[in-house]
């Protein structure tokens, strides 16, 4: 909404308040002003001139030499290039010494040998947005109405000595989608009185009855609660007077013709949308009803609209003639030939208008106002005001009376509120007098209702105020938010602490970043094809279905992600294409799973950790060669975080072949819980085909469900006494089949080594021709310790023998000597 400062000052005295001050005042009060724009882009010393005569320039085909009376007492000779200049016109003349927008200075000049004492201006040269001008005024010089007085300052004439306030309204303050609304608001903020417009009564015809001219009906009460029409007979359609055009242009609306301009003017003034029909083209009575199945309507913009039965329309006896509250129909439009008009003012249901305009993608000044609600008490006032203004500007007479149906008249809200409640809610100590002053500035009727209590009647123009808290806000903002003190919350203290999952996530982020990985944040929505990757992680293997958005903005963002890894692959790929082939990235975020085809309940959101390693762990340096990441880097990170969570030993790594991973280089993670083993994720190399698809080299990744870890994580630290007796370390190496997992050998050794075992670890793995095809040698280092004495050689040898026997039995292992 753009508000002209001059226009506003017709309703309230703005003396002593500059436009910028007014803007600041309104902004502080809650009506945010985005900008204050001067309408004068830099025009000085430019006046109305009369073209006395026009002759062709002797030496230039396209130039004319004009004799101009600009009221300066002498006849000016001005050379003009515009083709539309003609004798007898009133035109804007920039005199010698004038300035025009764009730092243009008008000087005495010779054009092709002919002296020119000034310049005849186009609208654009005067800095007027010519898109807002009628088409005929956009070309060439600006031709002014014939009755304009010669010598009048053009800035005065065109209303350029004005500033426009650009309002950025919140949805609750639709009352300020009108000059009167902004005037009421300004009155509340300044305490100054208002002058409201009064329709001119003299232009009404007593003999001609509206009821004889048109009958109206509301057939669908859900669509409309109040419908009113007046008739203006014998109008002459033409351009509206300059003052009216200036007002519309200041508001950013293009003048069209006197009748249409008045409807727009009054809409801006009252906030009540109006529409004028050509009475000759409306057949029979007018009614509000819902559109019929298959009905169509060509709207004012020339587009044929397919209507649906939920769309309210205005119809005559035969067909729909307007989309109620959205746009008029082309058939019944006011044209230069129109003689009698039907003027509509109505209150259409906001929800129905909103639905219609959204569905048709057709938003108008009218629909914007109906959607947010118009003042029910202005339907008649605006109608009367517009009818008299039409008669003033287009001639004709307004018939007597109004054809109208009013179904429901909303009652103004009556709210009781105490001073004590206001102060308690705001933390202020306002006096009764201070608050009473605010009620009176708002022009809300306030009756005393007991000690320190008011009964307030809220005018219908402020439909946003329905409760006590709404009134408290009025007090707060008019008193000034800066006058609310700052206090500390009273009452018991509370303890702030992270939950266990929150602490764990923070710990994991710290650990991973310190391990050299960078945290990524990627989008939770992805393409359908990305969402289908890693079925073992996406839940697709267990019957989870993709979750698609109803109306995606693009295919790349059409489905909720079910795994994290595809986004990390994209991020690595993005970096590789920027010459950064090595990446170590992680993300902690949720994935979304549901087995439903169409969601009826919320999907499960699984918090997950994923990371991806590709390229080199270390770049080459002066003292080292580059080393590429491998599987054991990825696994090492997983082991490190399990150690941090106190879960070493609780998770088993098992060879696995999930889709999209390398079938020989991937492990499933199995967490031991009280109720059995739970699969919590995978760590492995990505499938070479997938690596290729993302244009990556070898990439190693893991994705792990965090919820099971939250539950299992054990942060308790229990001190164990330090050993007092020495340990004994014994190594052994066995040759086994190449397929025997190292972890199985370790586990078997652990079970067989007896009670003094301290640890078992693999310290070497070797495969070579000397061992025979498909064989490998695994070397174990086993440590024994007794807490209370030194173990003797016999005890240790016995334990070692037990280990060897177990390995021989279980894995056909051969001890290497």
């Amino acid at each position: 909404m753009n508000v002209s400062y001059q226009w506003l000052s017709e309703y309230i005295d703005l003396g002593g308040i500059e436009p910028q001050e007014l803007a600041d005042l309104l902004t502080r009060g809650g009506i945010e002003i985005d900008g204050v724009v001067s309408r004068n882009a830099g025009v000085t010393k430019t006046v109305v001139g009369y073209v006395l005569e026009k002759e062709k320039h002797p030496d230039a085909d396209k130039l004319n030499v004009c004799k101009i009376d600009a009221g300066t007492g002498e006849t000016l000779q001005i050379v003009c290039g515009a083709p539309n200049v003609a004798a007898g016109q009133k035109v804007p003349v920039a005199l010698v010494g004038a300035k025009l927008p764009g730092d243009l200075q008008i000087k005495r000049a010779k054009l092709r040998g002919v002296e020119s004492q000034g310049m005849i201006c186009s609208a654009r040269e005067l800095g007027i947005n010519d898109k807002l001008l009628p088409k005929e005024l956009q070309e060439g010089i600006l031709v002014l109405p014939a009755d304009t007085a010669v010598g009048t300052d053009i800035a005065d004439l065109l209303g350029l000595n004005d500033a426009v306030l650009e309002l950025d309204l919140t949805p609750n303050r639709s009352d300020c989608l009108s000059l009167l609304g902004v005037a009421y608001e300004t009155a509340a903020l300044t305490g100054r009185p208002l002058t409201l417009p009064e329709p001119e009564k003299a232009l009404y015809s007593a003999a001609d009855k509206t009821a004889d001219a048109i009958k109206v009906a509301i057939e669908s009460s859900e669509a409309c609660s109040h419908y009113a029409m007046r008739v203006v007979k014998g109008v002459k359609i033409g351009p509206s007077p300059l003052w009216l055009q200036n007002r519309l242009i200041a508001a950013g609306i293009r003048p069209i013709s006197n009748v249409v301009d008045v409807t727009n003017f009054v809409m801006l003034e009252y906030g009540q949308p109006l529409h004028a029909f050509d009475a000759a083209k409306v057949k029979g009575a007018v009614r509000v009803r819902f559109a019929r199945e298959g009905e169509t309507l060509v709207t004012l913009d020339g587009q044929e609209r397919k209507l649906e039965p939920h769309m309210p329309v205005i119809a005559d006896d035969e067909r729909a003639i307007a989309l109620a509250g959205v746009m008029g129909g082309l058939d019944t439009e006011v044209t230069p030939d129109t003689v009698d008009i039907l003027l509509e003012s109505a209150r259409f249901a906001g929800a129905a208008v909103r639905k219609t305009s959204r569905q048709l993608g057709l938003r108008s000044e009218a629909s914007a106002r109906f959607e947010k609600g118009v003042d029910p008490e202005r339907v008649r006032g605006a109608l009367d005001r517009a009818a008299s203004l039409i008669a003033q500007t287009a001639g004709g007479l307004v018939t007597d009376g109004v054809s109208e149906v009013r179904l429901a008249a909303p009652e103004p809200a009556v709210i009781e509120l105490s001073l004590e409640r206001i102060n308690r809610m705001l933390g202020t100590s306002l006096s009764s007098l201070e608050v009473k002053t605010i009620w009176s500035r708002l022009q809300f009727a306030a009756e005393p209702a007991g000690e320190g209590v008011w009964r307030l009647t809220v005018p219908t123009r402020r439909g946003d105020i329905t409760r006590a808290v709404d009134l408290i806000e009025e007090v707060a903002r008019l008193n000034g938010y800066d006058r609310i003190p700052t206090t500390r919350i009273e009452g018991p203290t509370t303890t702030g602490a992270l939950t266990k999952p929150q602490s764990i996530r923070r710990e994991l982020r710290k650990l991973l970043s310190e391990a050299g990985l960078s945290e990524a944040v990627t989008y939770s929505v992805t393409s359908a094809s990305r969402a289908a990757l890693f079925p073992a992680l996406s839940g697709a293997a267990e019957g989870m279905r993709p979750i698609g958005l109803a109306m995606p903005m693009s295919e790349e963002r059409s489905a909720l992600r079910a795994t994290l890894l595809p986004n990390l692959l994209e991020a690595a790929s993005y970096n590789k294409s920027r010459r950064n082939a090595s990446a170590a990235l992680f993300e902690i975020a949720s994935v979304y799973h549901s087995a439903e085809e169409k969601l009826t309940t919320l999907p499960a959101e699984h918090p997950r950790l994923a990371f991806l390693l590709t390229g080199n762990r270390e770049g080459s340096g002066w003292n080292q060669a580059a080393t590429a990441y491998d599987f054991y880097d990825a696994k090492g990170i997983v082991e490190k975080l399990l150690t941090r969570l106190g879960l070493t030993g609780a998770v088993r790594f098992e060879q696995a072949q999930p889709a999209d991973f390398h079938p020989g280089r991937t492990a499933a993670l199995k967490l031991a819980t009280a109720t059995g083993e739970v699969a919590i994720g995978y760590v492995g190399q990505l499938h070479p085909e997938l690596q290729r698809e993302f244009d990556l080299g070898d990439a190693y990744a893991a994705e792990i469900d965090l919820k099971p870890l939250y539950e299992a994580a054990d942060a308790r630290i229990v001190y164990g006494t330090l050993p007092r007796f020495p340990s004994a370390e014994r190594d052994l190496a066995v040759v086994v089949d190449g397929s025997v997992p190292g972890a199985s050998l370790v586990e078997a050794a652990r079970q067989a080594a007896g009670e003094w075992l301290e640890s078992v670890r693999v310290f070497d793995v070797y495969a070579g021709e000397r061992l025979g095809a498909g064989k490998k040698s695994v070397a174990l280092s086993i440590v024994y310790r007794h807490p209370d004495r030194t173990l003797n050689d016999e005890e240790i040898a016995e334990a070692q023998q037990s280990v060897v026997s177990r390995l021989e039995q279980s894995f056909s292992a051969e001890l290497r000597k």
Binding site: G30, R173, E473, R488, T495, S518, I547, G619, Q624
Partner: protein, 344 residues
């Protein structure tokens, strides 16, 4: 014999004085003090001495030995020192070459900012509440006083999955969930960080996915002045004690009264600069007193308790804090960008 010993002392000390390397020193040690050395040679003649002479000569012999040994030891120590110095000199390396890199990762700037804000509120006695990113229309809109067809829904066009389920457009639904979980118990003091989604075309300042942090306090007699005090405490912890706040009336369906909050521009300290568009203030959050209908939806009686809520955009705060020019940097995950946040 005594003369021979004395002569040996003079000769040996003179010889030792000349020695220039450890090998020669060792040769002289053997020559004078070795099993077949000069001193032993002379002492062989001890057998022919009288009982009176023997201890005297013995004493002289010991003195001579001690004198030679002392010089030998001094010389040896000098040679050892020189040898050590030579070796250390040879071990000199170029300390100006770079050290072996310890891999450095980083926490995402949005995480850093979120944790910083969380820590401030944890210190003020708040807990952190979380809620689902895929929400019901009820929690995301209706319970927050945004009934269907409410014009304010235009403010945040949404990604629906079904008619009743959508990606949450703000973290405010967590307010309702936190209130319901509190089951009427006060005081309730939570913040709710998380991802939110709006149907926006991505550009330098807009992203269809972004992060918010919501705050909610409910208790008996929570006042708007408490809200101002809380926000002032927060921004001063975040930006420094010199920073002030300014509240401007605004509108959110779930708060009444509502306000937008500006802080003193952190770039210019309120003097006016490019970042604050010469105003000296930067808008960082929206807030207000919890609307009675919202309290009711959360299971509280608005006649008994009151509350305040506030919400801020993490991206906006991070953009300002790090002077980042384009919001899309946060989601591209360019390592050249992420690497800049490796500092504590």
């Amino acid at each position: 014999m005594k003369e021979r010993l004395e002569a040996l002392r003079v000769e040996a000390l003179a010889q030792l004085q000349e020695v220039a390397d450890a090998g020669r020193l060792n040769d002289l040690r053997v020559h004078y003090l070795g099993k077949k050395g000069q001193l032993t040679e002379i002492l062989r003649g001890m057998g022919g001495l009288s009982a009176e002479e023997r201890p005297v000569i013995g004493q002289v012999a010991n003195d001579v030995r001690a004198a030679i040994e002392e010089v030998l030891a001094d010389k040896q120590a000098a040679f050892d020192r020189a040898e050590t110095e030579r070796r250390l000199a040879a071990e000199t390396i170029d300390v100006t070459l770079p050290g072996r890199a310890v891999a450095t990762g980083s926490v995402h700037p949005l995480t850093k900012v979120t944790q910083e804000i969380e820590d401030i509120f944890l210190g003020m006695g708040y807990t952190i509440a979380e809620g689902p990113e895929v929400e019901t229309d009820y929690f995301n809109f209706e319970a927050l006083n945004l009934p269907k067809d409410h014009p304010a829904r235009d403010m945040q066009d949404s990604f629906y999955i079904t008619d009743e389920i959508l990606l949450r457009t703000h973290t405010s639904p967590v307010q309702i969930r936190a209130m319901k979980n509190a089951d009427g118990a006060t005081p309730l003091k939570v913040i709710c960080p998380g991802r939110v989604y709006r149907r926006d075309d991505d550009d330098a300042t807009h992203s269809f996915m972004f992060h918010q942090i919501e705050g909610l306090v409910v208790g008996p007699d929570i006042r708007m002045s408490d809200l101002k005090g809380t926000l002032l405490q927060f921004v001063q912890a975040m930006y420094g004690p010199q920073v002030q706040i300014r509240l401007r009336p605004s509108f959110f369906p779930f708060t009444e009264p509502s306000a937008e909050v500006d802080v003193t521009c952190t770039q210019c300290g309120g003097q006016g600069c490019r970042m604050c568009k010469q105003s000296g203030w930067i808008e960082i959050l929206g807030c207000g007193m919890v609307h009675p209908k919202v309290l009711e939806h959360g299971g509280f009686d608005p006649e008994q308790v009151s509350g305040f809520a506030f919400g801020m955009g993490v991206e906006r705060i991070a953009l300002l804090k790090y002077d980042i020019d384009d919001i899309r940097h946060f989601y591209n995950n360019d390592l050249r960008f992420l690497g800049q946040f490796a500092r504590m």
